[in-house]
C-alpha cells in the first residue's frame, strides 16, 4: 500500500521537517519584505501562536490516525511534531518578551501573574519544557513507564493553550472555538468508544 510505503520511506522524516519549517520561513521572508502589515509584531505573535496550537493538534492526532488507519508508522513523526510545537511556542514567547516587554524581566513576570490568559499561555510553555527535554531515545529508555505518564501532560498543555486563546479574544470567538472543538474531539477520542474505532474494521463490518 502506497501510504505505508510513503510513511516508512527514508524521505518521510525530512519532508515532515521541511513542512514544519514552512510557516517559519514564510514569516521570516515576510519580515524582510515588508509583508507583515501595519503591526508586524502583532502579526508575528499571532502567527507563531496559531502555529503552536496547530502543530500541537497535529501531534495529538497521530495516535487517532494510527488507530483509525491501522498505520503504525505514523508514530515515527510524533517526536518531530512535538518538538516543532515547542519551537513555535518558544518563538511566540520570545517575540512577546522582546517586543512587548523590551526584555524587562520584572514587567514580564508581573504580566504573567496578573493576566490570566498570559498565566495560562506561559504555564503551557513551561509544561512543554520537560516533554521536550525527555523526548530523546535515551530518556525514554531511562524513564521507562514514568515516561508515558509524564507525557500525558500534553493533554493539560493543549487545554491551557486553547483557553489562552479563548481568553484573549475581544468579541469574535469563531477561531478559538474551532481550535477548541478539534482539541475536544482529540481528547474525547482517548477516553471514549472512538478509541477502538478503526477504518479497516468499520469497512469490514459493512
Amino acid at each position: 500500500m502506497w501510504v505505508a510505503t510513503a510513511l516508512k520511506s527514508v524521505y518521510a522524516k525530512p519532508v515532515v521537517h521541511l513542512l514544519c519549517l514552512v510557516p517559519f520561513s514564510a514569516l521570516l521572508w515576510a519580515a524582510f519584505n515588508d509583508g507583515l502589515g501595519a503591526n508586524p509584531v502583532e502579526k508575528l505573535t499571532h502567527e507563531t501562536g496559531d502555529w503552536t496550537l496547530r502543530l500541537l493538534l497535529i501531534t495529538l492526532s497521530i495516535s487517532p490516525l494510527r488507530q483509525w488507519t491501522g498505520q503504525a508508522a505514523f508514530v515515527r513523526f510524533r517526536r518531530i511534531l512535538g518538538l516543532y510545537t515547542f519551537f513555535y511556542g518558544c518563538c511566540h514567547f520570545s517575540i512577546w518578551f522582546v517586543a512587548d516587554h523590551s526584555l524587562d524581566l520584572a514587567g514580564m513576570i508581573e504580566d504573567i501573574v496578573e493576566r490570566p490568559y498570559i498565566t495560562l499561555g506561559f504555564s503551557a510553555l513551561m509544561l512543554m519544557l520537560p516533554l521536550a527535554i525527555t523526548s530523546n531515545q535515551a530518556m525514554i529508555r531511562r524513564l521507562g513507564k514514568k515516561w508515558k505518564s509524564l507525557h500525558q501532560l500534553v493533554y493539560l498543555i493543549i487545554s491551557l493553550g486553547v483557553l489562552h486563546f479563548v481568553w484573549l479574544v475581544k468579541a469574535d470567538y469563531l477561531e478559538p472555538t474551532i481550535y477548541a472543538i478539534i482539541a475536544l474531539i482529540l481528547l474525547v477520542h482517548r477516553v471514549g468508544p472512538m478509541k477502538r474505532f478503526s477504518v479497516k474494521s468499520f469497512l469490514v463490518a459493512r
Binding site: A31, G37, A38, N39, P40, E42, K170, A171
Partner: protein, 313 residues
C-alpha cells in the same frame, strides 16, 4: 520589517480658503458635458460622496511623526466589515455612501433627516493631527479633516434636557457584510456627555491625509474623540440623538466589566485582561508609555473633576 519613516511634509506656504467644495461629482460633470437634459433625470438629484476641496491646514498639530497613510488605511477595527484588521479594507471596497442621510432626534429644536452635504457645508473643514489610542494597546497619529462636533450640534438647537448625545452607525448587513454575524449587537452605538460632545477637541471627521474619508476608516462621516479609546470614535454615522439619560454603547453592552461608558485613555486603569500602561505606536517595535487622556489632559481633565475615573472607566 523595520520601516524608515519619512517626516510629514508641511505645506505652510499655502493660503487656506475656508471653504469645502462639496461636489456632485459624476452627475454634475455628466450634466455639464451631455447637456441640460440630464438635470431632469432623477439620478441627478442624488448626492455623490463628499469630495474635499480646500481646508484649514494644521489647525491642531502634534510634534510627533504621522503614521503612514498605508498603515492607517489597512489596519482597522471596523467590525461592520469583518473582525480581522485587514478585513475592513478588503470588504468595504464597494461600499457606497451616496445620498447619505443623518437622522437627528431627541432633545433638540430642529430634529429631522439631514443630508450629509447640508450638514457640513456651512463649516470650514479643519485639519487636526491627533493621536489615536486603541483599547488594544496600539496607537497612531492621524491627520483628520473635520469640523468641531459642537458647531454642528448647535445648529440643531439642543434643549436644556440634552445631557447626552448618542450616535448610531448604519445597519445594513448587505452593504456591511460583517453585520451578517452577530459579533456585536448591531447597529453599533456610541455616546458622549453633552460637555464631551461640545468640547472643541471633539470633531466629526469627513476625511484624512488630505482626502475624502476612506470606507474602511468610517466613510462618509465619523466621530473623533482623541482622548478616548478608539472604539468611542464611531464610524459611518447615520443617527444623532440628544437624550436626558446616558445612552447605551455597543462595547459596554457586550462586556460591561471591560468597557465603560467614558472609556477615557487611562494608563492607571487596566483593561481586566490586559495592561493599558503601554502602547505600540504603529511603525515602531517596542512599546511606549501611554499618556493620561492620551496626552490631552490639559484640555480635557477638567471635564472629569467630579468623577472617580477608576469607577467611571
Amino acid at each position: 520589517m523595520i520601516k524608515i519613516k519619512k517626516r510629514w511634509e508641511i505645506q505652510e506656504s499655502e493660503v487656506t480658503p475656508e471653504s469645502l467644495y462639496l461636489r456632485r461629482r459624476e452627475f454634475m460633470k455628466a450634466a455639464g458635458t451631455i447637456g441640460g437634459a440630464l438635470l431632469l433625470n432623477p439620478w441627478a438629484a442624488a448626492q455623490a460622496s463628499l469630495e474635499i476641496g480646500d481646508y484649514k491646514k494644521k489647525v491642531i498639530s502634534l510634534d510627533e511623526e504621522i503614521t503612514e497613510e498605508e498603515d492607517a488605511t489597512s489596519y482597522n477595527n471596523f467590525y461592520e466589515f469583518g473582525t480581522g484588521k485587514e478585513d475592513p479594507k478588503k470588504h468595504s471596497k464597494r461600499f457606497k455612501t451616496d445620498d447619505w442621510k443623518i437622522v437627528v432626534s431627541g432633545e433638540c429644536a430642529k430634529p429631522g433627516a439631514y443630508g450629509l452635504e447640508d450638514m457640513v457645508k456651512p463649516f470650514p473643514v479643519e485639519e487636526r493631527i491627533y493621536r489615536l489610542r486603541c483599547v488594544e494597546a496600539w496607537s497612531m497619529v492621524i491627520p483628520w479633516l473635520g469640523i468641531p462636533l459642537g458647531s454642528i450640534l448647535n445648529t440643531f438647537e439642543p434643549t436644556s434636557k440634552a445631557k447626552y448625545v448618542a450616535f448610531k452607525t448604519l445597519h445594513d448587513p448587505v452593504r456591511m457584510p460583517g453585520q451578517q454575524r452577530s459579533v456585536l449587537n448591531w447597529p453599533y452605538r456610541e455616546g458622549l456627555t453633552i460637555a464631551e460632545a461640545m468640547h472643541p477637541l471633539t470633531i466629526l471627521s469627513v476625511g484624512m491625509y488630505g482626502k475624502t474619508m476612506p470606507n474602511q476608516n468610517g466613510a462618509p462621516i465619523r466621530l473623533v474623540v482623541p482622548w478616548k479609546y478608539g472604539f468611542k470614535s464611531i464610524k459611518s454615522i447615520v443617527g444623532i440623538e440628544f437624550s436626558e439619560d446616558q445612552p447605551l454603547t455597543s462595547w459596554n453592552m457586550a462586556a460591561p466589566r471591560e468597557y465603560g461608558f467614558y472609556s477615557n485613555v487611562n494608563p492607571e486603569v487596566n483593561h481586566p485582561r490586559w495592561s493599558q500602561k503601554k502602547e505600540r505606536r504603529i511603525g515602531e517595535i517596542f512599546k511606549r508609555e501611554t499618556l493620561m487622556f492620551n496626552g490631552y489632559g490639559e484640555e480635557v481633565a477638567a471635564l472629569y473633576d467630579d468623577l472617580d475615573l477608576a469607577v467611571n472607566f
